[in-house]
Symmetry: D2
Subunit: 392 residues, 4 copies
């Protein structure tokens, strides 16, 4: 493993432009820390506000040169595309309804992209965006960051190796308590209120926020596609305009069955993303709150606790950990793995060299499209008395 | 707590007749150990086989006097009802399809009953049996033994006390791996093969075996009723005649939503019965594999680990533990709690005295009826493209 | 496994006499429940008080026939030894300082013994008692009940099989909080005050109460003897007459090193008895608060979670569990295992038949003697500036 | 919390010089990642080898400008001290025996220091170095990185707030398996062989490597000093020249007692650093392998699970976490906290402004001195038949 050198195939760090994620933004800090951890990126420009004064203050706070602090995405993209030392890629971390426009514009200017999930708010836009990515051949990395955890990647590799044989049963839950207390919902005047406005956050808050993570996690580990869903989605806390829970029964294309449960209204629960994947010869269990443990329950043998860089670690997992066994890594390291993988892919694309195949497992625009389709199918099933609806 | 003296209200131990559960039977041993632990019962008679020789051998092995070893349930019941020192109650632990007949006969002869779950294989029989219990005023205890665990009872009491306020979300899973390996399914000639024959095991093996436990656990803790289900049930392992998984989305009469998932085909999983109940002011989490821990996650306060007889223990929970905090109790103690509670109720009925109200929380024939109705609703929804079906 | 039939080699249950452990006694209830669980015993007589009225009331409450309720141990033993249907064995559960006298008298009358730990308060008495047991050939079972847990027995067997190869390092802790709050120490007038009086509880309360359990657990699992200790023992809570913590460094006869730490003054801790045994090829970790899990960490392979009757279960462990994997057993079942094993040994002795060798692993008078010697060595080292002192 | 802006009091990032920790070095990567995470540092110069060719290659790989790649520490320090834009501080990550010389030289040239532990190999050097730090008033940060974990800091604050009242009992273990397999000890020709040479690694490998971490953790959380030790230290694996285990009994200046156990020879154990601190009104338990959980066991109330930014989080802990509750942080974030705190202290010193007091809890040269003294006391006690030896 050599995650640390800065000298990429390009002989330099990649130049990063950010759209959104100013100093006060939780997700903005995550992105910048992720970009820094392995030193593959240099933050060179950004649009942090449409208000020039606020943009200037925010840009300086995150270390941008005043000349490269912008208030218009299209102007920034144009300017950067004309510079010799212009940005190599843009990272988009704005409200969900703007991802599409910024991403399309960035692609048109030839930029690779790192984009927050959900990719878009509608299937139509997701399809257009995905097609555009395909046409341009540019790199599109969607930040389903839980796929960056070493033990999630170990799970994927164990499935790939056939250690579970044919997969039969999949359970996933993503349960949070962050929206359990309705008295803390933001006022329309507050910055985070966009999440509570379906026009901006999309057709389903809970699905956009965490449901797409759970969906992606299933697909990442199992490499199976969901054929159909029978779903129920709604608002458990009276008076809200947005969904705060969703449940679904799943049928996979290989015949496996599954269960899906997400909510942000489970009082006191912090961030319980858990998955159990059962195949003919074993079951895998992982929970995000103790991400350094993967439990493997083989048929007719004792259950095993797998850890990053512990015995039996497979190559993708090994590449995703920066440390010897027993030293937990967390959210930032997982997020950074997506950035570092994307850097490899982008540098390879630019240089015309071949990327390390292990770097190419980050979620992309197809994953984004399938996520948006899944949200749509859940809603349609729920609206149809929970009958089975195709995800295709 | 005074669980140990033998001197019940009757001044003696209760005289127990058993139907089924011979020496080789797992569940038979559980029943007998449960009956012995608190010394409220004396095993006096039983039908362990219809074959006289086998009945004799089995009866002697479990300590029955040769004169009180029977091969016919009706003859035993008649004989015992005519003895001065005849049995006070019968415990039924035969295949599911026989519960109804034996229970009805026992009630007709005036015996109180402890009966294995599921109560019956059909709604019709469940309704008749429940009505018969109501009419006779006899005690009917259904062995949903997980309700006997001290921390399950603590959960119920915390809900009763309003520590969660209004319940909003319920998740339950009961996941086992015991039927994951189809090559171990019994041959038709083997004793346990009745479970794989729908005629004997009922319309759904997985629901009868463990689904009714999960259903009962929800109702026991939350004291809510399930209004409707949207469900999927089937066989994930090709070639079997019986179900091995079921999933359902739930709507409760109070508006709460829920998720239900049971399977016996999850390779390597031992006995993962888990429940999470979320209300406005807190969430409870319990898992059967570490039954001495109940996690309480209050709104805006740190999560708590509750233990039997630890700080904050409520009366029903305290009564259900035989030991000081920190000394785990297990499956047998929970099962014994049902027996001990039933003994209190039966002795009270016989003596005309008033039972300790804390003893009266064991599952009864109404719980049995609702369990059978739930199984039926799950199957009907699954057959109706997983549309919502009323459980009433 | 056939733990359940009552028909021992003698064709009947063993007749049990109890000394101490009346209805209000925690440990008395444990003994009686342990005796009942597998139905190998019939409680026939006892001395529960030297006050006739209290003795009568207590005896009736635990189900003794009035004629066999005694107030004098020697008279009971004499009377029972003269009856055709007299007691087979006595169980001693009185304050520590009386174990010696009762045990010697019982042996002189030809009774087998089940005795609470610590065996005696002095080395001299322990040596005499052990020698007497040896001379008489009677069975002496010391209730180091934690050795009855299936996974403790599994650990012993894994060591015996050489799965750890040569043992190098041993850590044990037994940490409780029961005596953390000095304001709850009993008044001299209270019944439990004997524990706080060194004349009755012995030279060290914490060592007698729990230190001997920790010492015995090390020896039971590792089958190694402790050669020397360097120890510190004392009272962390001012004003007490009795010890409430002890620590020791250990050297084993095979060269292994160890660490020992016990206290009853750790506020809020329930019953944390934990052991870690490391050998050349693996480490075992067990904790009493989750007794159904044994973690095995082999060299160069993933850590394993072992469970009762799970994959890899060895014979002694299998014999010690009454249920299929995934159904936790607890304190009572472990305690009952000692009773059931002792029943096998006693019935074999009486009948002249050969006991199942798996039944013969219960702690005996030699274990008791070594425990008392260990307590003494810890005290002597502590008094000698913590220098190394031989345990021999 | 505002850990992310780069604009320190100096209006710029601090300029970092590194000594040791080239691209192949585990600890070098940790330092550089820690320096990058919060963007307070800019790596500008370093000595990575005394061999010019290797130094050049390594320097380029970590992004140094060729002009600022050095092969002599003293030359680098001189050159940097003469530059207008010279380094602000040096980070030392070389073998233990060289820390002293490099640190003294750096102080003489006026550089602040971040230094790996143990600070030095001898008490004499530790005293001189500590005195030099005091005299110069320069910042010295010793990388006892476990003190950077949010929940370790939370524990410290709970103690400070008196939530435990007077501390009575302390247990610490640091158990690893990395040196359990003697066949993997490096050959003298291998780079890591310096650890196995007492001349370079110091008087005790296990104490220098991990014992000083355990010692520091006790002091960091409890803010107590150890008065005396009775200890045993040695080599459990035959043939080694260096220690691989150490145990000690502890007496604190406030009267508390403690237990200390460290080893690197526990087969299969990864990195089990655990501490339990008990006071009159509560006990805290923390383990490094699940660092995001701190268990608090108050007197007469249920045990609590504390998490970063969960309910009850205190200011120092809050400042040490970059994310909302439920998203685990790991080793890198903890390490980065030391770097970020040191940056605050250094920028304050340089600018003459006042640092945030919460930033000033990183281990310093006094901690380093006390650590070296503790190692010495452990060895002396072990050599004196484990008698009590003063740590002063």
């Amino acid at each position: 493993m050599s995650l640390n050198p800065v000298i990429s195939m390009l002989g330099r760090r990649l130049r990063l432009a950010v759209i959104g994620g100013g100093p006060g933004s939780f997700i903005g800090a995550m992105h910048r820390q992720a970009a820094r951890l392995d030193n593959r990126y240099e933050l060179v420009t950004g649009v942090l506000s449409s208000n020039p004064e606020r943009a200037k203050k925010a840009g300086e706070e995150i270390g941008l040169h005043p000349d490269r602090i912008h208030v218009s995405v299209s102007k920034m993209l144009k300017a950067e595309s004309e510079r010799e030392d212009g940005a190599d890629l843009v990272a988009i971390m704005t409200p969900n309804d703007s991802h599409f426009e910024y991403a399309i514009t960035a692609l048109e200017h030839g930029f690779d992209i790192i984009c927050d999930k959900p990719m878009t708010n509608t299937i139509e836009k997701a399809e257009i965006l995905h097609q555009k990515v395909e046409e341009t051949g540019l790199i599109f990395c969607l930040t389903h960051n839980y796929t960056g955890y070493p033990m999630v990647r170990q799970a994927k590799e164990m499935v790939q190796e056939g250690q579970l044989d044919k997969i039969r049963l999949v359970q996933v839950e993503y349960v949070q308590g962050g929206k359990a207390d309705a008295s803390k919902d933001p006022l329309p005047s507050e910055k985070s209120s966009w999440r509570y406005d379906p026009a901006k956050s999309g057709p389903s808050l809970v699905m956009g926020d965490i449901g797409t993570h759970a969906h992606n996690l299933i697909r990442f580990i199992t490499e199976l596609e969901i054929e159909k869903v029978a779903a129920d989605i709604g608002t458990i806390i009276p008076g809200r305009k947005i969904d705060d829970y969703a449940g679904a029964l799943l049928k996979f294309t290989n015949g496996a069955r599954g269960n899906f449960w997400v909510t942000q209204a489970a009082t006191g629960v912090e961030n319980s993303l858990r998955i159990r994947v059962s195949g003919e010869t074993g079951t895998l269990e992982w929970e995000q709150e103790i991400p350094q443990r993967l439990v493997f329950k083989p048929l007719n043998a004792p259950a095993q606790i797998r850890t990053p860089n512990g015995a039996g670690t497979l190559p993708l997992s090994a590449r995703s950990s920066r440390i010897v066994a027993g030293h937990p890594e967390g959210f930032h390291e997982g997020f950074a793995n997506l950035y570092t993988d994307a850097a490899e892919a982008i540098a390879a694309r630019i240089s015309g060299k071949k990327a390390n195949p292990l770097a190419l497992h980050f979620p992309n625009s197809l994953d984004g499209l399938l996520g948006v389709r899944f949200v749509d199918a859940v809603i349609r099933s729920s609206n149809a008395d929970s009958k089975w609806i195709s995800c295709a």
